[in-house]
């Protein structure tokens, strides 16, 4: 461990400058939230003294990680807060949320099971979710906001098993695709387009039958289940990781979980997963730099606004989608960089947090609306599924995964 890591691991690196709290989207709208500095490094001193606070205040953290990318001293603030939530669950003075909130945590944490149910009969699930009565019942029964933009279900993405038998022995280039629950159950089409794009650039895609990456479980206080999912998924990936096959994520939160949390699990594959996981466009840029990315682009005459999802920002890889899309003739993009959209996974779907989430997102909505009014761009692009849903909810401006623009340029889709 170098000196720097040692410093940041220690809470002493925090200089108490309060910049993280000034940038925290939640502290901006919720006076009862102590903010990242208060909840992270400040309270960490108490926690070291075995004073374990209840989980409810900790629960106000939306886990967007803005504080971590903000900190001028590299303090791992969200990590401290998440550890504290873990401890609060087990702590001597444990304060569990009431039954309703626990039940909600169970439901929202299980995007995967909801997805499996939803896609059984997507039409019906979507219709049901549109019914005021159903939404009212969800709010009363589970504390899930009536107004929140719950994503619709679609035709699920199919699992694609590796036919070759043993990983890495097939001729030709392979990737493992980690679609994540949103792509798998809500937007399978994006996953199918991605597989076609990868095929176009010469890669065969394998989609093992993964479980949820675990992030929504963690965000909803189910740390054990999250860890088990991680171990399960790692075991599925292990043969591929050992064979040097890259793992690609199109969802930025899944990607971050694979890069940040999986390396901490106790499994042999944990050593490899961080370095071998790529955001889709990060992977494409790597190919471009090696001269291996086909540049047979058709002209796409369009202007876009781009929203950088918090969990992509936290990966510390910049904005690779903009790098790639700007290679396409005709494409113009502005990186709005107007802060968190507010929904942060399932945070903005919670009844008591819906209004706060909308307030958090308001600078972004304004930047989108003004840009469209001034004719600077007509559509929005963002990688994260729930950011997308929230931007559309807050502005009614059509929003897509940037992959679709690439697919148009490669003549894979035509609308």
């Amino acid at each position: 461990m170098d000196v720097r890591n040692e410093l940041t691991a220690r809470l002493d690196a925090c200089q108490k400058c309060n910049v993280c709290t000034a940038q925290c989207p939640v502290a901006k709208v919720n006076p009862h939230f102590p903010g990242p500095k208060g909840l992270g490094p400040d309270m960490e001193r108490f926690r070291r003294g075995q004073f374990i606070p209840g989980e409810t205040t900790l629960d106000d953290c939306s886990n967007c990680k803005t504080c971590e990318v903000t900190c001028p001293s590299g303090v791992k603030i969200t990590e401290m807060i998440l550890d504290a939530r873990r401890a609060a669950r087990k702590g001597p003075h444990k304060t569990m949320p009431g039954v309703k909130l626990r039940l909600r945590g169970y439901v929202l944490g299980r995007a995967e099971y909801l997805g499996k149910l939803g896609v059984l009969w997507p039409g019906m699930a979507n219709q049901a979710l549109k019914l005021n009565l159903v939404r009212w019942a969800l709010e009363k029964g589970l504390g899930i906001s009536q107004k929140g933009p719950l994503p619709a279900y679609g035709k699920p993405l199919e699992v694609i098993e590796d036919k070759a038998g043993r990983a890495g022995v097939t001729s030709g280039k392979q990737v493992v695709y980690f679609p994540g629950c949103y792509t798998r159950y809500n937007e399978g089409e994006t996953g199918r387009i991605m597989i076609k794009v990868l095929e176009h650039i010469g890669y065969k895609t394998i989609v093992p039958n993964f479980h949820c990456c675990g992030l929504p479980l963690e965000a909803n206080g189910q740390f054990d289940k999250a860890r088990k999912n991680g171990l399960y998924n790692l075991e599925l990936m292990r043969p591929y990781l050992e064979a040097g096959v890259p793992v690609i994520a199109s969802c930025t939160s899944c990607g971050l979980t694979l890069k940040e949390d999986y390396p901490k699990l106790s499994a042999s594959a944990a050593q490899m997963i961080g370095a071998q996981t790529y955001d889709l466009f990060e992977f494409l840029w790597l190919l471009y730099e090696k001269g291996e990315l086909p540049l047979d682009f058709q002209q796409v005459n369009a202007s876009f606004g781009y929203h950088l999802p918090c969990h992509l920002k936290a990966q510390g890889i910049g904005t690779p989608a903009l790098r790639i899309l700007r290679l396409i003739p005709g494409v113009k993009i502005r990186n709005l960089d107007a802060g968190c959209c507010g929904v942060s996974g399932s945070y903005g779907f919670k009844a008591e947090k819906y209004d706060k989430a909308m307030k958090i997102g308001s600078p972004l909505f304004e930047a989108v609306n003004v840009g469209v009014e001034q004719g600077d761009f007509q559509e929005m692009l963002t990688e994260c599924g729930v950011c997308k849903v929230q931007i559309q909810h807050g502005t009614s401006i059509p929003t897509e995964h940037p992959l679709r623009i690439l697919a148009k340029a490669y003549n894979i889709i035509h609308e």
Partner: protein, 412 residues
Amino acid sequence: MWDAIVVGGGLAGWTAGIRAAQRGKKVLIVTEGVGTLYYFSGIFDYGDVAGLRHFPKHPYSLFDAETIDRGKQFIKELCPEYIENNKSRHALTVLGTVRQGDLMPRSMVLPDRQEQGIFVLLVPEGLKDFFPEIVVSNMAREFPGWQVKVKRVHAEILGEWERIGKSASGIDYAAIWRSKEGQNLLAQEIETIKREQQGAGSKSERIAVVLPSLVSEYFDASRTKIYGKDYSLPVIEMSSFIPSPHGRYFAEYLKHQFTDLGGELMIGARAAALTGEPVSDKQPKSCQEIIVHSMGKVLHLKAKKFILATGGLLGGGIKVGIERKSIHEDVFDLPLFVPQEWSASRFFAPQPFAQIGVETDNCLRPLDTNQGQVIWDNVHVVGRMLAHWDPWTQRCGGGVSVTSGCAAAEII
């Protein structure tokens, strides 16, 4: 392959990045956090440029007067609200004392001390780390011909904060003053002040409102100027303190300028080392790539030029171990100038440790401290990382950062 990679997102880094992007270069800025601009007062200090240029090895001595002026022009073009101090201009510190400044927002400039009039200090309820009593007594001392009055202002949107006794930071308040509701509230308050003062018979007297946490400069994320209100009395901004609203809006503005010009920001990533090889047997070497730690993996980023803008001791670019012998520059492991004695006895006296940094040639390329030879041909050092200057006693922090950032960008 980038034309240049800038390491560090402080004033010098942004300046280098934006200027290079304006020149059509492909630039990447790699930064671990938001940088020290969040500690910015809102005012650029240049110090006694002519005098400092004759200090041996002072960064100003590396540049001609024209280059230093180009930096100022760069800021003035970027921030049209900033004016240069050709006569003695002053602004208020957050304690109500008066400070000089060389490049400051027009709305910070204080009236002449010889004149007479009334200051009304608007005090936002619950503004964190703001002490109106101290401000009033300092202002009364600094402006003997002026009366200083206080009026409290209450923003309904922070009602819940007030109810539970929680303070709001200058950044929170700045956001309110930049909103439509906030501006309407201010307009009302100021109109009331005007009527009250006129009612009190001070019709002919000059009245100025002073408001901490107000930032009327810079575009915001929607790329439009959010602050457009004219009030019935002149409103004077105070300079900022930590966490700084001026710094916050300025940093965001620089970021948007940079990315709109096609530059790319990689935040949350830590540059750790560089790799390069000697072009010949002799120095200087040429740097090919830097090693950057992103989440979970190590990136190798290639560029033609590399700009080191990681700040000094305070900014985190220079690391000191428990034992002072282990002082080093954190990214490129460049040799540092380190004085024999680090500190002097009087706290506010010039402190020798302020001079710690990297020595460079006129092109800002790092030098070997013993032989004085250029080490890297395509690495340029800017801002606080440069050796032989003291931003505190020489009051030239902004000037050195902007000048060196601009100068480096011209070489890219």
